[in-house]
C-alpha cells in the first residue's frame, strides 16, 4: 500500500495548476468564484481554452482527441479543474453522450458528432425524465412513431438541463408500446433541437441559474440514422451510462473547494472579537466535516487505485455518490452557517465579498445533488439489490 502520489504525479499537478493560473482570464476566474458560477458564454470560452491546450477530454481515447493520461493524472486534472470552480458545462457531451456514441454509435455518427463536442461547437442536453417518469424512468411515454425513413416524435422531456443553450438532445423514446417488458420498448435517439416542433422553456432553479428546462416535442421529424445502439435497445445504452456516473459524482474536487472556502470565510468573520477559525467550537465543527471528507476521499482513492491498474473499481465505489452528495450539502450548509447573517445575501455584486456571494446560490444548487444522477433513494435500492443482495418482494 502506498498513499502518496509519485514525484511525477505531483509535478503534473503543479503543471496543471500553473497552466490554469496563467491561462484562465481574470474575469473568468472571478465569475467562477462568484454567485452562480460560470454562465454559458463563460463556460464556452473556458471550453475553448482547454480545447486549444488539448486538455478538454482527458478521458477520451487519444486518437479521438484525448490526452493519453492514466487514471491518476485524469483524477488530478479533475481535482485541479474543480478547485478553480470551473467545471465544464459540456459534461453532457464530453462525459455522457460522447462516450456512448463511441461505444454504441455508427462510424458516421462518430465522425458527425464527436469532433464538434470536442471543439465546443455543439452542446448537448439530456432528455430522460418526463413529468411522469422520474425515478421510474422506464415508464417514459414520449413516442417515436415509425414513418419510413424517419420517426415522428411527440411528448415532453423535463429537467433537460441547459437545453436553452444546447444544440442537440439525447433522448430515450418509446418505439414499441406493445413490448412485454417496458424496458424493452425504448430507443436511444439523438434529436437536433433546431428541428421544427421542438420548444424549449427554461425555468429558474433554487440557485437562480436557469439550469432546468421543459422541452416539448410536437410532431418532430427525426431521421432513423439518429438511433444509437439499435432499435429498442435504449435501456442497455442508458444503463452503460449509469455505471460511468458512479465515480463522476463523488464530488471530491467540489468538496475540497467548499472546505477551503469555509475556512477562508471563517478566518475573516469574528466571534467574541477573534476570528471564527480560532474559536475551538467552530474549529471542531469544521474538523468533523473535514475528517468525514478524508474518509470519503480514501474511498475514491481506492477506486482510483483499481482504475490505475486497469481494473473495475470494487463494489465500495457504489457508495461514492451517496456519501459525496450528502457531504457537499453538509459543507455548503456549514458555509452558510459560518456566514451567519451574511448568508442572507442573494446576487448583490459588490455588497459582500465575492466568495460570500457565491455561497447562497451554490448551497441551493447542491440541493439537487442528492436527486440528480439517480436519487440517493434509488441508489440505495440498487445497492441493496446488486451489492448486498437483499431479497426483493
Amino acid at each position: 500500500m502506498n498513499l502518496t502520489f509519485t514525484e511525477e504525479e505531483d509535478a503534473f499537478r503543479q503543471e496543471v495548476r500553473a497552466w490554469m493560473q496563467e491561462a484562465m482570464p481574470e474575469e473568468l476566474r472571478r465569475a467562477a468564484q462568484g454567485a452562480g458560477g460560470l454562465n454559458f458564454e463563460e463556460s464556452v470560452e473556458w471550453h475553448k481554452l482547454l480545447y486549444a491546450k488539448g486538455w478538454i477530454a482527458p478521458h477520451w481515447p487519444k486518437e479521438l482527441g484525448g490526452t493519453g493520461w492514466d487514471a491518476t493524472r485524469r483524477f488530478i486534472f479533475n481535482e485541479e479543474l474543480e478547485m478553480v470552480g470551473a467545471l465544464r458545462i459540456s459534461v453532457l457531451g464530453l462525459s455522457m453522450v460522447g462516450p456512448l456514441i463511441m461505444q454504441f454509435g455508427t462510424e458516421a455518427q462518430k465522425q458527425r458528432f464527436l469532433p464538434k463536442i470536442l471543439r465546443g461547437e455543439e452542446f448537448w442536453c439530456q432528455g430522460y425524465s418526463e413529468p411522469n417518469a422520474g425515478s421510474d424512468l422506464a415508464s417514459l411515454r414520449m413516442t417515436a412513431e415509425d414513418a419510413g425513413d424517419h420517426f415522428i416524435v411527440n411528448g415532453q422531456k423535463t429537467w433537460t438541463s441547459w437545453a436553452q443553450n444546447a444544440d442537440w438532445i439525447f433522448c430515450l423514446v418509446r418505439t414499441d408500446p406493445a413490448a412485454a417488458k417496458k424496458q424493452n420498448g425504448i430507443t436511444f435517439l439523438l434529436v437536433d433541437l433546431k428541428t421544427p416542433g421542438v420548444d424549449v422553456k427554461p425555468m429558474l432553479t433554487l440557485g437562480h441559474a436557469p439550469a432546468f428546462c421543459d422541452t416539448f416535442f410536437d410532431n418532430v421529424k427525426v431521421p432513423k440514422e439518429n438511433i444509437v445502439g439499435g432499435l429498442n435497445q435504449g435501456w442497455t445504452v442508458a444503463k452503460a451510462l449509469l455505471g460511468r456516473e458512479r465515480t463522476l459524482l463523488a464530488l471530491i474536487g467540489p468538496s475540497r473547494h467548499v472546505l477551503h472556502k469555509v475556512k477562508r470565510i471563517a478566518s475573516t468573520k469574528t466571534v467574541n472579537g477573534r476570528p471564527m477559525l480560532e474559536d475551538p467550537r467552530w474549529r471542531a465543527k469544521i474538523a468533523r466535516l473535514e475528517m468525514r471528507f478524508r474518509a470519503h476521499l480514501m474511498v475514491s482513492y481506492r477506486a482510483l487505485s483499481d482504475q490505475q491498474k486497469g481494473k473495475m473499481p470494487g463494489p465500495e465505489a457504489s457508495i461514492l455518490k451517496l456519501v459525496g452528495t450528502k457531504l457537499i450539502q453538509e459543507l455548503t450548509e456549514l458555509a452558510m452557517e459560518v456566514m451567519g447573517e451574511s448568508s442572507l445575501t442573494w446576487y448583490n455584486e459588490g455588497v459582500c465579498a465575492p466568495i460570500e456571494e457565491s455561497i447562497g446560490p451554490y448551497f441551493c444548487y447542491e440541493r439537487s445533488a442528492t436527486i440528480y444522477g439517480g436519487s440517493n433513494e434509488i441508489q440505495r435500492n440498487v445497492i441493496a439489490k446488486m451489492i448486498l443482495q437483499l431479497p426483493s418482494r
Binding site: M1, F5, M291, R294, A295, M298, Y301, K309, I319, N381
Partner: protein, 374 residues
C-alpha cells in the same frame, strides 16, 4: 497511490482469517469468557510460531521487519470472530512501546520472548484522572540507591492481570519515564476487573515497588513522547479491529435480513430495512477506507502527516462504526439483545474500542488543533 495489499499481505490476511474461522470461532471466546480464563497461552504460543506476534518488529529483535500494516491486518482478521488472545495489549501497546523505548538488552529480555509467544506484555499507563493524556499521571518514580521506587495506581490495564511484564509510566525528576516491571514483583498488587466486552483488565497498585536502574526504558523524561506515539499505533489498531467488527456485524445483519420472515416475507425485502443496511454498508466502507490510510500513516515519523488520518479514522469508528453496531442490534430485533446471540458481543466490543485511545471528542479536538489540517 495504491490501496492493494501485496501478495504476502493478502496471504497473511487469509491465514489469520482462516485461523479465526476454523480454530477460534466465537464459541471459543464465549467459553473462555464464561469460565474466566480469558485466553489460552497455548494459542498465544502458536501465534508466535506462526510469526504473527513479530510482524511489525525489526529482524534484530526476532521480528519480521514488516510495517504496521501487517499488524493491522492481523488485528482486523482476528476480530472477525473475537479471538480473545491479547494481541493489541501485548504486541501494540506493550511491544511497540518497548521496541521504541528499550535498548538491545531490554529487547532481548522482554520483547523477543513475547514475539516468540513465550510471554505477554501490558502497558500500565492509564490512571483515574488521565482522560487520554499520557502525561496526566501521578505515579512517581523516586530514586532509591542505584534504582527507583514506584508508587501509584494504574487503572484498566489491558492484559495487566496476566502479562509477564508490565511497562509502567511514572514521573521521575526528569518527567514521565517508563520502566519494565515483572507483574510478580514485590509490591505489585493486581485486582482483576471485568470489562463490558467480556474481557478482563487490571487495576494495579504499585506500593513502593523497587526497580533497578536497568529497568528504565530510555532516559528520564523520554516516556511521554514514546507513549504519544504508542497511542497513535493503538488508535490505528483499534480502528483496524473496528473494521473487522463492523464488516462482520454488517454481514450477520444482511444474512439475518435474508432469512428472517415476518408478514409472510423476508424482512430484507422491506425498503426501510434495505436502505438502513445500505447506509451501514456505506459507513463500514468509509471506516475500512480511512483505516487503510491510518495503518499506513501510523509508521510516519512526522506527526503532521501521521495524526490527521489516524484521528479521522478513530472519529469514523466513533461515528460510523458505532452506528453500524447500533443498527445491527436494532435490525436483529429481540434476539439481538440476548447474551445468547453473538451480535451483542460484537456490539460491546465496538463500544470498548470506541472508549480506548481517545474518544470522539478527543480526536475532534486534536484534529481541530493541528495547524496542518487548516
Amino acid at each position: 497511490m495504491d490501496f492493494e495489499l501485496d501478495q504476502e499481505q493478502q496471504m497473511l490476511a487469509k491465514t489469520v482469517s482462516d485461523f479465526a474461522k476454523n480454530e477460534s470461532p466465537v464459541e471459543r471466546f464465549r467459553k473462555l469468557r464464561d469460565d474466566g480464563t480469558g485466553y489460552d497461552p497455548a494459542v498465544w504460543r502458536k501465534m508466535g510460531e506462526l510469526g504473527w506476534l513479530g510482524v511489525p518488529f525489526a529482524e534484530s529483535v526476532g521480528g519480521f521487519g514488516g510495517s504496521f500494516i501487517e499488524c493491522a491486518i492481523v488485528l482486523e482478521n482476528l476480530e472477525t470472530t473475537l479471538v480473545p488472545e491479547q494481541y493489541l495489549a501485548s504486541v501494540v501497546l506493550g511491544g511497540m512501546t518497548l521496541a521504541r523505548a528499550g535498548n538491545a538488552t531490554q529487547h532481548e529480555s522482554y520483547l523477543t520472548p513475547m514475539i516468540e509467544g513465550e510471554s505477554t506484555l501490558a502497558l500500565a499507563y492509564y490512571e483515574a484522572q488521565s482522560r487520554y493524556d499520557v502525561s496526566a499521571i501521578e505515579t512517581t518514580a523516586t530514586p532509591d540507591g542505584s534504582g527507583y521506587r514506584l508508587l501509584g495506581e494504574k487503572v484498566w490495564v489491558l492484559n495487566g492481570h496476566r502479562a509477564d511484564h508490565l511497562i509502567v509510566s511514572a514521573k521521575a525528576s526528569g518527567g514521565v519515564t517508563l520502566f519494565v516491571v515483572p507483574r510478580e514483583a514485590e509490591g505489585v498488587n493486581v485486582t482483576v476487573a471485568k470489562t463490558i466486552d467480556g474481557q478482563n483488565a487490571a487495576f494495579i497498585k504499585l506500593d513502593n515497588v523497587a526497580v533497578a536502574d536497568d529497568a528504565r526504558l530510555g532516559e528520564e523524561g523520554s516516556g511521554a513522547v514514546v507513549l504519544d506515539r504508542t497511542m497513535d499505533y493503538a488508535a490505528a489498531a483499534a480502528v483496524a479491529e473496528g473494521v473487522g467488527i463492523a464488516t462482520t456485524m454488517l454481514q450477520m445483519t444482511v444474512d439475518y435480513l435474508g432469512t428472517r420472515e415476518q408478514f409472510g416475507v423476508k424482512i430484507g425485502s422491506f425498503q426501510a430495512l434495505q436502505h438502513r443496511a445500505v447506509d451501514m454498508y456505506a459507513e463500514s466502507e468509509l471506516l475500512r477506507s480511512i483505516s487503510m490510510a491510518s495503518m499506513v500513516r501510523a509508521d510516519e515519523e512526522d506527526p503532521r502527516t501521521r495524526r490527521g488520518d489516524i484521528s479521522a479514522a478513530k472519529y469514523q469508528l466513533a461515528t460510523g462504526g458505532i452506528w453500524v453496531a447500533q443498527q445491527s442490534l436494532q435490525l436483529h430485533g429481540g434476539i439481538g439483545v440476548t447474551d445468547e446471540h453473538d451480535i451483542g458481543l460484537y456490539f460491546k466490543r465496538m463500544y470498548a474500542l470506541n472508549a480506548l485511545f481517545g474518544d470522539q471528542e478527543h480526536h475532534v479536538a486534536r484534529f481541530a488543533s493541528e495547524p496542518s489540517s487548516f
